[in-house]
Symmetry: D2
Subunit: 138 residues, 4 copies
């Protein structure tokens, strides 16, 4: 299934007083990585939202392990892969490597949501076929 790899350099302002990455930054990187993954599959999320009238594909679950710290100036490789595609949701795996060593791993689930006019609230919506096709690409 779809996979993408990108590199980020740890910036000064992403580190905390103990000199390591302040961990909420990993979740910002994971979000950018999902957008990059979809783009690699040919899907620009902003365009998908307009085309299919969905609200978006928010995260519903993260399971994250921080195995080793990263410091100002480190170059991190973030590998992001689709693990499973469901009717309204899909599962992703992120692996952050720092100098070849696994530093962080994260299992993420996103669900497609849309406004339900009858019920007057947001609810799960089947993944657009175009998105399923992108996620399933080798």
């Amino acid at each position: 299934m779809l996979t993408n790899k990108r590199t980020v350099t740890v910036e000064f302002g992403q580190c905390d007083p103990s000199g390591i990455v302040y961990n909420p930054n990993y979740f910002i990187w994971f979000d950018v990585s999902v957008h990059a993954l979809l783009a690699r599959g040919g899907v620009i999320l902003k365009a998908l939202i307009s085309e299919f009238g969905i609200d978006g594909i928010p995260v519903v679950e993260y399971k994250t392990k921080f195995l080793a710290p990263a410091r100002w100036g480190d170059e991190l490789t973030i590998e992001t892969s689709v693990v499973a595609v469901h009717r309204c949701a899909f599962d992703i795996q992120h692996r952050v490597l720092n100098g070849g060593v696994l530093a962080v791993e994260c299992a993420e689930t996103r669900v497609c949501t849309a406004h339900d006019a009858e019920q007057g609230r947001v609810r799960a919506h089947p993944l657009p076929r175009k998105l399923i096709a992108a996620l399933s690409r080798p």
Copy 2:
């Protein structure tokens, strides 16, 4: 004119590897301070946007001086005051005090904007009268 004072504690994650506040955080605090200032004048920005069909009141200018650093655990007082009210814009002054010492000062200008359907773009819009009344309150 309208003035407000609030206190923030410098959190661990708002500091950088040199142990002082990473400066973009001041601009987040200033934004929250403007919302708090308006609320003190009786105006909730979210409601104002809906009621008057404006886009918002984005910042168009900041002039900021950083005079003294602040560190993890410091308690900062942020004083925010309206300095001038114009037709489509208003000027604000922020003063950040750390233990009674002036640490940061910032002059900010915000302009009211709305979508111009004829020109198909965002442009300046006269301040809603309700907003002018709030800003002018002693």
Copy 3:
């Protein structure tokens, strides 16, 4: 065991273009909540680090479920409780309530770390007794 409750208001700048909280902000709130929890138990983390020569108590694991979105202006209650205390680590549970509804839940594990001069690297370190006492307080 030790528990704490605090309230945060969702600010404009913490929301994304879909109008809901951008999820990395929850991890910032969880970090602040842990500091507040420890303070409630009488432990200021900054002072603990100096006193015991430890590096800190970084997060090693998060398991997070996002059950309902939160929007600009929502008032969130964050309940944070110690769940288990181990030799070098402890487990925490965060529950974020939005208008009485459970919006986010997160199981967090933190480990005490210190620099090991012999091995020249950071490693797990027994929790200082003062920290154990604080975490175990009712």
Copy 4:
């Protein structure tokens, strides 16, 4: 004098509920741009700090004008140039272009600081010669 140009793509999470870049992000980009500028001149700030025993080169002043908004997916070019070099400080100009249009401009001053053991506090310190050489490079 030294100049650098880099490109950033506006990410989803850098935009606010009005769909435009939340302005504190510009100051994060400016900070990264200064590090990139120095690196282009052959100076890695982290190494400079170790080598010369300085605390850093914090920002003491920003004068910023926001001329046009930027949106999710926009590609921004950030041009950063040294404008003047003083004994303990230097001046920088940032220009953010969005589709060829000037969107933000910012005049920034940074000062070199070091711990003064006699006075027991941080104070201005002459710029290391290596830094002056880098800043003055064409």
